[in-house]
């Protein structure tokens, strides 16, 4: 069943998003699984306390044993007893370029993951379904790398100064003009770290007396930026426009809590693609709401820039909307451009204000020149200004890969979350034991995947997340799909019963919103 959203003609194309309901038996078994693990955890802690089992944790210094303990025992319960068992699924060290195929350093543990040793062997040509390499710009040869090498030879690796002091190079100005042209906005500013772009600029835009409406599943950087700003934060249900509209209405009608003064401004924080769910924001509706209630929109396109839209300009182009409707367009260069850093684009007044008052401009070192050059070359490639059609071909290849991969996985019977067009594909695992098992089985078959559990996801909704890339060929995808099929049968992961919950029919109740304290 396709749930095509019409909503007064705001959508120019079908919006197919689905989150299949968790089967009851699976949910029960997952809770039982966590219960068993918790019991064993208590047992092991007991044995460690009574010295029956050796304690492998690092401990406090002798001289400081009478200080207040740095960590509470319970804080680390999850870490010690659940995370430690499957720790080898994360932090896997690689030793080649993170492209479609990657080389991994083999590591073994002889004491159940407390310590690792490297055998010295390198596992070659693992199909990489975990790196955020959407357009395949993570390359060690090619135009981007050559340009970056030239700039490195001329400028060096570091900058040693902030933007407002002596760190504003001509390269940075070139980059900012190019990014503004790419996005279709008046002006843009670039920063050295994507996380810091959010956490240092949201406090510059809003302060006390303002209201932030943030999506339930926003990234940690948006949450941190909102908290540091001192504004009141209210949370609306994930991608739920009725929830957002109710909050907007209530906020304007009732004003600030207790004093009833009107809010100074309202800022809506949403992301383009949510990386844990694979869902795409309902941008046409958000913009319609924003205009009706005179609030401002902050769009974080970390995963969607370069990955959506017929020419890779992001979620705004995907829906066919006007970039000037989005007040603050933020994004990162880490994912689709194969570099590092973040940017904010918008009207000239906004960017001038950020140049003066952003925390990053005054106190943080500016971007490294070879990284800037990589971004310049990759953006030119996507726009087609380097004289080839490589960029366009990659964007199309990514879209094809996405559709093919998702269709095949659904046919096999797995539960896949998210929108049809998003290159982030979460595959539900649910049970804690399957998290570790899936990661290890796929590695045995030479495929590298990312598995996530609590606390990045709700406790029963652990998942494996595939990130597709334009660098994946159809053969690689077919190999991967074959292996996923095998492992799915082995671990009994094919939960889907094709009972999709229509999104608009989900019961919507009174929203609870949290207000921040100082």
């Amino acid at each position: 069943i396709n749930h095509i959203v019409h909503n007064g003609g705001l959508y120019k194309r079908p919006f197919n998003e689905a989150f299949e309901e968790t089967p009851m038996l699976v949910a029960v078994l997952t809770y039982v699984g966590y219960g068993v693990l918790t019991l064993f955890g208590y047992l092991r802690d007991f044995m460690r306390q009574w010295k029956i089992e050796k304690c492998q944790n690092a401990t406090e210094r002798e001289e400081q044993k009478d200080f207040v303990p740095l960590y509470q025992d319970f804080e680390n319960f999850y870490n010690r007893n659940l995370y430690m068992r499957i720790r080898d699924s994360w932090n896997r060290p690689i030793c080649s370029v993170p492209g479609a195929k990657v080389d991994m350093m083999e590591r073994v543990s002889h004491d159940y993951n407390w310590t690792f040793t490297y055998t010295g062997r390198v596992i070659k040509d693992i199909i990489n379904m975990g790196s955020y390499n959407y357009l395949g710009f993570a390359q060690k040869t090619g135009a981007c790398q050559e340009a970056a090498a030239k700039v490195l030879a001329q400028y060096g690796a570091g900058v040693c100064s902030t933007r407002q002091e002596m760190g504003n190079l001509d390269k940075h100005e070139e980059l900012e003009k190019l990014v503004a042209r790419f996005l279709g906005v008046e002006s843009a500013m670039a920063y050295g770290m994507g996380f810091a772009t959010n956490s240092m600029n949201i406090p510059a835009l809003v302060g006390k007396g303002c209201l932030i409406l943030s999506d339930e599943l926003n990234h940690a950087s948006l949450v941190l930026g909102a908290r540091l700003s001192g504004a009141t934060i209210r949370i609306f249900k994930h991608n739920n426009m009725q929830s957002l509209e109710k909050l907007l209405k209530d906020a304007i009608v009732h004003g600030q809590p207790r004093t009833r003064r009107p809010w100074k401004k309202i800022l809506i924080l949403v992301e383009g693609i949510y990386s844990m769910e694979g869902s795409i924001v309902r941008l046409p509706e958000v913009i319609a709401l924003k205009k009706k209630y005179k609030s401002y929109l902050y769009l974080d396109e970390a995963h969607s820039i370069g990955a959506l839209g017929p020419s890779g300009r992001g979620v705004v182009e995907y829906f066919g909307l006007n970039p000037e409707d989005v007040d603050v367009m933020m994004g990162t260069f880490t994912k689709s451009f194969g570099a590092a850093g973040g940017y904010i684009g918008g009207k000239k007044e906004l960017i001038d204000y950020l140049r003066t008052y952003s925390h990053s401009a005054a106190y943080a070192t500016s971007m490294s020149p070879p990284v800037v050059e990589q971004i310049i070359t990759s953006v030119k490639c996507i726009m087609g200004e380097d004289g080839t059609t490589v960029g366009e071909a990659r964007v199309q290849q990514l879209a094809e890969n996405t559709r093919y991969f998702r269709r095949r996985l659904k046919e096999m019977g797995f539960i896949i979350y998210g929108n049809e067009d998003s290159p982030v594909v979460p595959l539900m695992l649910y049970m804690p034991a399957k998290i570790g098992a899936f990661g290890r089985e796929m590695l045995k078959r030479n495929i590298g995947v990312v598995v996530v559990g609590f606390p990045a996801t709700p406790i029963i909704e652990s998942r494996a997340r595939f990130c597709l890339s334009a660098a994946h060929t159809k053969e690689m995808l077919d190999t991967a799909l074959k292996e996923i099929n095998e492992v799915g049968d082995l671990l009994q992961l094919k939960y889907s019963r094709r009972r999709l919950v229509p999104l608009l029919d989900r019961p919507f109740d009174e929203t609870t919103y949290e207000e921040t304290e100082d």
Binding site: Y71, P98, D170, K264, F337, A364
Partner: protein
């Protein structure tokens, strides 16, 4: 048997009361439905928000950046004019070093530019592991952890350990990154006067008396002291031996921020602990950024595994952000190699600092703020002319005079409304190992001339 009458009447009343409660309307605690639909629509129509950002005047001093064409090395081209660089924190001159550049080139050929993922998801490269090992070995600690952005290092480290309800004693002159880390941690912040150990002891004693009133709470409240080795805002050194004594006396942990002193102080460049000869295990956490002496990008924290390992799961800037590009990590490793093989550059740097510190004394109208061996000094106005705006304009004229004559300087930039203790406006003078003695003398005499012509 017979129940007494009042008993039956009481029970009858209670039953009637229960029936009444069961059938009465439920109320929400706040009466929110006072307004009619029409009134609500009118309120929505009438509400006017502020503009998203206020407009910035075109001549705002922080709006017009200096444009550097080409690399920001010893000879720098600012706004089209070639000058000698006295403004970039390139203390050991490693920005233009050929060995560092070729190590970065080799890494670029092997790994490309970006890492395309955070450390947990295929973003850990062997270069990162090597850099962490080398830093830990260099600083003689058990473990080190790398961040991809210098500002985010201390701003993520502090909230990982200090939570709501904990107490942090921090120096007034702490840099902005520390202030943001403290704000994110939501702990109780107690500021003590800059470098004033008596003031700090007073605060610690006050806290002790508080603890005796409530020993149960005191047993779970963690305490920290956050200081910098060499302060960015004042150029002073912190009195670390006294701090260690206070640490053991009042049972407080010390977090040391060494961005300016790493690669500058100490016989081998290991920072303030080597300078004072203190056992490094006495400091709980040392944090530094690699953007000054190591001429790369990013930052690191080092200390015992017991402390550092915690950040791998709770350091926000580590877990939720992409890892450092491998070419920058390779550049940092090579820079470390150079530091280890040439320990005499630290003494050379110190001699140059002392030379210019002496040469800048006695300029009429400007006073030198900072230790004699600090490579980042401030020149402040001896007498302020009333408002901060006018001071800034005056200093700008001094800086422009020097830039026109071939010495690149900059004013120290702050966010005036956001700083807790805003330092007075000043010119930043940075000494690097690449500056020759003639250049140092030229800079000093030029500053004297500029002060004469502008301030008198």
């Amino acid at each position: 048997f017979q129940a007494p009458a009042y008993h039956l009447i009481l029970e009858g009343i209670l039953i009637l009361w229960i029936i009444r409660l069961l059938f009465s309307k439920t109320y929400k605690l706040q009466e929110r439905s006072d307004l009619t639909l029409k009134e609500k629509e009118e309120l929505i129509e009438e509400w006017q928000p502020e503009p998203l950002v206020p407009s910035v005047p075109k001549d705002h001093p922080a709006l017009n950046y200096n444009v550097v064409s080409g690399p920001p090395t010893h000879i720098i081209t600012v706004n089209g004019k070639e000058c000698i660089n006295f403004a970039s924190f390139n203390f050991l001159g490693l920005l233009n070093n050929e060995k560092v550049k070729s190590a970065a080139q080799a890494s670029l050929k092997k790994y490309g530019v970006g890492t395309c993922g955070p450390r947990g998801f295929y973003g850990t490269f062997d270069v990162h592991l090597e850099l962490e090992e080398r830093l830990a070995k260099f600083m003689r600690t058990e473990e080190a952890i790398i961040y991809s952005y210098g500002f985010a290092t201390i701003a993520s480290a502090i909230p990982a350990y200090s939570k709501r309800g904990d107490i942090v004693f921090v120096d007034e002159a702490a840099c902005f990154a520390i202030q943001k880390g403290l704000q994110a941690s939501r702990s109780n912040i107690k500021l003590f006067k800059h470098n004033d150990m008596a003031d700090l002891e007073r605060l610690l004693k006050e806290q002790e008396t508080e603890d005796q009133k409530n020993p149960r709470k005191a047993r779970v409240t963690r305490r920290f002291i956050v200081v910098e080795g060499l302060y960015m805002n004042t150029g002073d050194i912190c009195p670390l031996p006294e701090l260690i004594k206070l640490k053991y006396k009042y049972k407080v942990r010390i977090f040391l921020e060494e961005s300016l002193s790493f690669g500058v102080l100490g016989e081998h460049g290991r920072g303030i602990t080597e300078h004072f000869g203190i056992n490094i295990d006495d400091i709980d956490l040392i944090s530094a950024n690699m953007e000054n002496s190591l001429a790369s990008i990013g930052g690191f924290c080092c200390g015992r595994s017991f402390i550092i390992d915690h950040q791998r799961l709770s350091g926000q800037g580590y877990c939720f952000s992409a890892s450092l590009p491998p070419l920058l990590a390779a550049a940092a490793i090579e820079a470390l190699n150079i530091m280890e093989n040439n320990p005499d550059i630290f003494q050379t740097l110190r001699t140059k600092c002392e030379r210019i510190h002496k040469a800048l004394q006695g300029i009429s109208g400007l006073k030198v703020v900072g230790e004699s061996f600090s490579p980042a000094l401030h020149l402040q106005l001896e007498e302020s002319c009333g408002s901060r705006e006018n001071d800034v304009k005056l200093l700008k004229r001094v800086v422009d005079y020097c830039m026109n004559s071939g010495i690149a300087l900059t004013q120290a930039r702050y966010l005036e409304k956001e700083e807790k203790c805003l330092p007075p406006p000043s010119i930043r003078v940075v000494i690097t190992v690449e500056q020759t003695e003639q250049e140092l003398d030229k800079a000093a005499s030029l500053l004297k001339e500029a002060a004469q012509s502008v301030l008198n």
